[in-house]
Symmetry: C2
């Protein structure tokens, strides 16, 4: 029995780029060797990244995977445990882990539990494995599990019954609010119950709408955490097993973040990875003087640096002077590029062309949408001309009820606050102000009653219930799948509930054409809440 | 042994509206009784419709299903075989068929083969059944199968081994080019091989991006078709079993359509069902004088009637006079509302506001996009003001390579030609002209070289290869999943292939924000080709 060191590569893959992923894995393995690690564990499907979606169906995946194996085979004297797609000769495809040493594959494990719910579609791609992988190394008995496996009690029980001392768990477990802590608590109960140590290595980074927090950890069979990596950081972490104590030594333990810090950082990493991996030199957004764009701007600047962020204020007749002032002040606070582009000539152009069609039809939301679409098109023109990505600034409350203009304020490649309810937007703005010496978001932006400023003296609350009420109804309907009747029974005004639910149902078409944005909840639109657009479901029971 | 009659309800459900579906099923059952049918067969999941997606996860589905059963229980003296979601007490959910007579459920069958590939996600919702359902009625032995089951040879073999004479197959089999004929040919081989009759009842109608063609049929165990329903028509069809001949009598057989008629009708029904079931009074589209909008206009008028269609020509400096003439001529030919809206004042407004930002930056695609977005916003304003749905007119070739403007010509709720390559657009236009006495699409629209008319003397072929070449490369890459190297090896110019593939990969973000549109291929974008936006996959092998 020996003491030994295990490295956890909290790794951020570039989806589909097996060559660069393998090169980076090799670097991490070399770094681990320098720290005398005996074993290095990578996340689930580390060679291709998670989720690679239908790239997994491309015929050359197998050949590319073999090339990645050849790249990884060059490193000696450290055991690599990494994720890959295992296409077997009988035509099956598995979500697998390889144990490799000195270029030799010593064992392969095929994931047994394939999630096919929520954001997961693994049964579209993979067959289920039916066998455990157990190996002895340095006098210690290891088993291998992949992500969902460790949440399936019978699977872990079987492994424990094989007298495995330590399970190496390769993960691509997406972030949602509170998930880092939830994982650790669940696994603490499991390790104690089954008397097994866990080395839990999780992917980190943003991939389209998914955010992976990392928060990898090593846990002893007492349920005690021996090592806990920070969330949202790509790095290598080393745990040391003490053969005498029969336990991992207590090393660096980074506590999980508080809720607002956790959400904020998830949005920062999601934005950074989307922008940088799509190859944009920077971002541009419309800064309205309101809180959504203010928070989006702060996140963008924190993600990629203020020098790469351009903010544009696009006033019209109904824009309050304080909106212009607040926008300018925030841009100055943050040191981003700022410009003002009046939309009056554009709106006038539209009205001139539309006059013969509209005649004396009464003014309605059409004219409001024209303002929003003039702004959206302006942002796109600036994006087209200078190459910056447009960030969309709408929040989940607005998107839920369609209080936003398709092709207007919804334009953009990435919607930073897409899964963030308005009440949380306020909390995040306050949180962001609390972590700098001087607040970056002007106080007035946070305290003013929200307004789209699309008609004189407009307030959001003219058309919508108070955000506390709206968000509570939305949460019950969307996150909790409650029925209209049950939500009314909780004490909300029946007419308000009916209106909100009708709006959520009606606006599926709008959401379907919106930009992707980072998922932070357990019921994000699109990938996780797949509703038909043509839909005759009647609210009620 | 008796002779008997079976009704096939080629049914078009309203997704999620169990109450109205059950009411319509009851009507059809009554109509079948009037024609002395002993049994009526409905499509897969007929009570809730297919695919109901995450509506299937709503907690009250079970209660709604029970209510539908109660509605259906009122009819006497005819056996109903219909599809429903079977939620069992142990918490499982099945895709099931019920056999009901006089309000009594005589048997339940749970689908055994759950497709989870292509456009299907059934493992997200359902557990697999493991038992056959066989029943005797009128001296005849029946079995029940659901859709994918009949494509799984072992499943049908087992049923045949139970001495079943006739399998009742409930289907929601989506249309793709040639699929109606393919089904019949495959089933002819199967029935002969296994000596079993098939009563194949398929859903009909459009549901978001899926089109169901119906084309239900009855086939004897000789492989001969005894009855074949027309494609794309909702109706009731009656087959008669002759106990003496031990075969279904040859009844009405509607041959499948030729390819262009089949595609055309699929687009018509998809458009009609989307527009009507979304509750729009009519549609509006931009008519450019080009072939895509010309064909879209013809489909729209055929789908919902010319009186509900509004066409708008939106000329700018680069619009040829013949484009305006051709647009006007077609609108007149078809009898749709037609208007002209010059976009010059709008583009000028944008350029005025953008001047301080653009300075002397050279003209590029930005200015072209401004024209397209001015048009898109105009259409949306007319839609907002008068309530018509905007139809998007882009084709699959353009969408593949991103030769279209997001928030510009891509605006709209339904993209009629989304899955139709440009070369097929030409064929469809000719087909449509061939079926009216006088051509509805002016000849010049078909013969002119395609142009976006966004700069002087622009032709599509300035930026893209000839459409014959482009579509062949796209088909190989998208439909056939061929690699760049393999496509080049077929003899295409290497640089052209590389450019096309790069454009397809780059433009995933654009497609993701595009409108849904009817699927007619075996590899439609989005539901069937799920690619990540951030994607490091390198073309080549």
């Amino acid at each position: 029995m020996n003491s030994f060191k295990i490295a956890l590569a909290q790794f951020s893959p570039h989806i589909g780029n097996l060559e660069s992923n393998a090169a980076k894995m090799l670097q991490q393995a070399n770094a681990a060797k320098e720290q005398n690690a005996d074993i290095i564990v990578f996340p689930e499907l580390s060679t291709v990244g998670y989720p690679a979606e239908d790239l997994l169906l491309r015929p050359s995946l197998n050949k590319r995977t073999q090339q990645a194996f050849e790249q990884l085979a060059s490193i000696k004297d450290i055991v690599l445990v990494f994720g890959f797609v295992n296409q077997t000769e009988d035509g099956q495809r598995y979500n697998s882990a390889a144990v490799m040493k000195n270029g030799q594959v010593l064992g392969i494990y095929n994931k047994q539990n394939l999630p096919n719910y929520s954001v997961f579609d693994e049964k579209r791609y993979f067959s289920e494995g039916h066998q455990h992988l157990v190996f002895e190394y340095l006098g210690h008995k290891f088993g291998v599990l992949i992500c969902e496996d460790v949440w399936a009690l019978p699977t872990v029980q079987q492994l424990a019954q094989l007298n495995v001392e330590t399970a190496l768990v390769l993960n691509a477990s997406p972030y949602e609010v509170g998930k880092p802590q939830h994982r650790i608590e669940t696994m603490a109960a499991l390790t104690k119950q089954l008397n097994i140590n866990l080395v839990y290595c999780n992917q980190v980074g943003g991939q389209d709408d998914l955010v992976f927090d990392g928060t990898s950890f090593v846990m002893n069979n007492s349920g005690e955490v021996a090592l806990q990596a920070p969330s949202f950081v790509e790095d290598l972490y080393i745990a040391e097993y003490d053969a005498e104590q029969k336990a991992f030594k207590t090393g660096a333990i980074t506590p999980v973040l508080n809720t607002m810090a956790e959400i904020y950082q998830s949005l920062v990493i999601a934005t950074r990875d989307y922008v940088q991996r799509s190859g944009f030199p920077g971002v541009i957004l419309g800064l309205s003087g309101g809180i959504d764009s203010a928070l989006t701007l702060a996140i963008a600047a924190d993600a990629i640096g203020a020098d790469k962020v351009q903010a544009v204020m696009m006033p019209y007749t109904y824009t309050a002077q304080i909106s212009v002032e607040d926008a300018a002040e925030q841009a100055k606070n943050m040191g981003v590029t700022f410009g003002i582009a009046e939309i009056n000539p554009i709106v006038n152009g539209f009205m001139q062309t539309l006059f013969p069609f509209f005649g004396d039809a009464p003014t309605d939301a059409t004219e409001e949408n024209l303002q929003a679409r003039s702004r959206g098109t302006l942002l796109m023109a600036l994006s087209n001309k200078f190459g910056n990505l447009v960030l969309s600034t709408g929040n989940k409350s607005e998107l839920s009820v369609g209080y936003c203009t398709l092709y207007g304020d919804m334009v953009g490649g990435f919607a930073v606050l897409k899964d963030v309810y308005k009440t949380i937007v306020f909390e995040l703005a306050k949180y962001r102000n609390s972590i700098s010496e001087t607040p970056v978001i002007p106080e007035r932006v946070i305290t003013r009653p929200p307004s789209a400023e699309l008609r004189p003296d407009q307030k959001d609350q003219d058309s919508l219930p108070e955000y506390e009420v709206l968000d509570a109804i939305l949460y019950a309907y969307i996150e909790e799948d409650m029925s209209q009747d049950d939500i009314i029974a909780k004490g909300f005004d029946a007419e308000v509930v009916k209106k909100v639910i009708r709006l959520v149902d009606l606006n599926e078409y709008k959401r379907r054409q919106g930009a992707i944005g980072p998922r932070i909840s357990s019921r994000a639109f699109s990938r996780e809440r797949r509703y038909p657009i043509v839909n005759g479901w009647k609210p009620g029971i």
